[in-house]
């Protein structure tokens, strides 16, 4: 009898927990629900019922929104892929240098990078803008790519160095006996062995780039060259008449990230938690 009461009590408390989490989850997912629900409505439908999905679901909103958004998406994907590629290349080499060798000057260069992690970049924006102008890089993708590669590699070098130090020394020794050059060691040993951490870092950088706003705002002028974030804000201030089209645009803008997430879910949850422990 007593055991039964205890069991009911634990069951009840378990249920309360689930209820609480579901409540919080539904609240935090509510904006996205509204986004998807509204994306298929005309304004008249929306004013009548903003809460639920409605039929007919106007897919033409998506067609229209795609016409507005597609160039931003391709721009951003180009910027992201190029930036992540170059960052990874530089990070691997530099982290290899720090992890495997203690050269004269190693310490100096290590702190040269580390200090940047502590240094806030607020004041940098204006001289950076002028610098890019002097280099004739304004209104090009390369301005964004080069700045993000320079800024993004620092944290990654820091994390990857620890990772490479954990790779067994025997592997490198064996490679060296076989006459592998340093570059070959980086690409045949370090690169395959640090795949998971590299992809986590890449995804995190991707998220950051997808939301990057201030730099492209000041650097890029042509509407056809804007990346996602700035493009969406432009769209928001330009087309306020039809909420459905706007929300369809937002939905489309979210899809690439959702796709990436679906393919890397396990890695992502694990990598984030692991990164959290180290950081």
């Amino acid at each position: 009898m007593k055991m039964n009461a205890y069991r009911t009590k634990t069951l009840l408390s378990e249920l309360m927990k689930h209820f609480f989490i579901l409540f919080i989850l539904s609240m935090s997912l509510f904006p996205f629900y509204v986004m998807v629900a509204t994306s298929g409505k005309t304004n008249a439908q929306f004013v009548g019922n903003p809460w639920s999905f409605m039929f007919p679901f106007h897919f033409e909103n998506y067609v229209y929104a795609w016409g507005m958004v597609y160039k931003y998406i391709f721009n951003t994907i180009f910027i992201c892929v190029t930036t992540i590629f170059f960052t990874m290349f530089l990070t691997l080499n530099a982290a290899y240098f720090f992890a495997r060798f203690k050269m004269p000057g190693s310490r100096f260069f290590w702190y040269f990078f580390l200090i940047l992690m502590l240094m806030p970049g607020v004041a940098n924006l204006i001289p950076l803008f002028v610098l890019l102008k002097d280099m004739n890089l304004l209104n090009t993708f390369w301005a964004l790519i080069i700045v993000h590669v320079a800024g993004g590699q620092i944290v990654q070098i820091y994390i990857l160095r620890n990772f490479i130090e954990d790779i067994p020394q025997d592997l490198f020794d064996a490679a060296e006996v076989d006459g592998a050059s340093h570059l070959q060691q980086v690409y045949n040993i370090v690169f395959p062995m640090s795949g998971s951490i590299l992809s986590t870092l890449g995804i995190l950088q991707f998220i950051g780039l997808w939301n990057d706003y201030i730099l492209p705002l000041v650097v890029i002028r042509d509407d056809s060259m804007l990346p996602m974030a700035v493009g969406l804000v432009r769209m928001d201030s330009a087309y306020v008449k039809e909420w459905g089209q706007l929300m369809a645009g937002y939905t489309i803008a979210s899809i690439p990230m959702i796709l990436i997430f679906l393919f890397t879910m396990r890695l992502f949850v694990k990598g984030l938690s692991a990164g959290a422990i180290k950081g």
């Binding site: 378990e14 927990k17 509204v34 929306f46 004013v47 495997r100 260069f109 002028v130 706003y213 692991a274």
Partner: protein, 484 residues
Amino acid sequence: MPRDIGFKRVKHYWKLYLFLLPSVLLVAVFSYYPAISAMYHSFFRWNGEDINYWVGLENFKKVLGVITPWVVLFILFYLVIIYAKEKNLLSYVLRFVSGIICLAVTSVLLAYKGFVFLTPFSFAYLYTNISQTVIAVVFWGFWLLVFQFLVSEESENKWMYLMTTVCFFIASIMKILGFAAIFSFSAILLLVGLALWLVPAMNKLKTIEIARTIHAFTSISIAFWALGAYSGGDPIMWGGFYVLAILIVFNIVKMFPSIVTAVVVHRIKSDALNYWYRVLFVIPMIIPGMVYLLIWKFFFNPNEGIFNRILVYTKVMDVLVYMDGILGWGGVFKEGVMPVWLGNEHLVLPALILWGFPWVGVVGVLIYLAGLQGIDTSVYEAAELDGASAIQKFTHIEMPLIMTQVRINLVLMVIGTLQAYAHILILFDIDGGPNGKLMIPGLYMFREAFREGRAGYACAIGLIIFFLILILTELNNRYIRVEK
């Protein structure tokens, strides 16, 4: 282990430097050069292009007003940061100077310049400030409760938290009675300081040194605040810092939902569901932040937006209208009129605080969960045998374990709040909302540089924010990280 290569063997290994060269070059050109250039140009009248001439300290004078006290305070603050932890005479002197003398000078100067009463006392004034009174009582009452829960009964620090809360409460009441806010704070803190340093019985308390250190830091902050308000600097800049202070206070409150959520997810017994909840909590992160921001902007739309509709639907709007009638909020909420959340001077700050309800930060939850995973199940079993309640488990088992993460998140949050301005630029445009209500320093810098053409002045503003964050980072490194 890294292989050691001395100077003699460098000529065989020089190629390794090539691995580092591109990274170093990029960082030097795109991170170091702009930072140095910003420092350099803060002494110039510069519009980013052709106009560029030396003006000395003029930019800083415009931001700070009188420069000397700022520099003195800054040096004092830095010295306190460095030496406060040690147990030598210098440490005592520094903390005494900042805790007592600094505040005494501030209070006397404020009194001398006539910044004691801002409004003469009257019951009419008191009545219009009832809402402030209510907020102050609720807010400090909330903190008292929180500390009751967070600080375990046997903790030596308990009296300190209590005293701090009570002091701030008294200062809030003084402000409502018509005293200038800064004067109330500096006077109350001065009294506390005198008690801490001069009452002999205090020396017997174990935590007295920590209390004195915290008091010294708080005092210097108050002195900085007084300087910002009354030293004749740029009022827009210091108004911005006031907004930031409010935002930071509320952001601290907003940290609790993440902690509670993480703890509840952690306590769920089923492993499979635990995993799936975690996956679901990642979803808000993969939706681009920009999209989230714009959806919330749409929520706050006065007529079509969902937010007002929810308020009407749940009858909260009626309550707000009623409260407006009693508390005299100046007709912000009126019967039949939809409040313009992002366009009304009095509502922009509440809108920004409400923004992102229920304030569960994805990264935060995952970080706390990672910290909680270190708890062994046997600890829970032992606690249950002892008959610990859910809240006791939280305060005694879970909270101490994630305290490190909470502290780090707190510092990151403060630094982030000081630095970020993109969201305000998007929601309220470059002028910082109606009447420039939300013109925070970062945004001000942006506007000065890219619209007003005062790049030199903007560099000076950026540099001041930069130093502030640098100090916070230093505080973090010395006082928060180490105690892991």
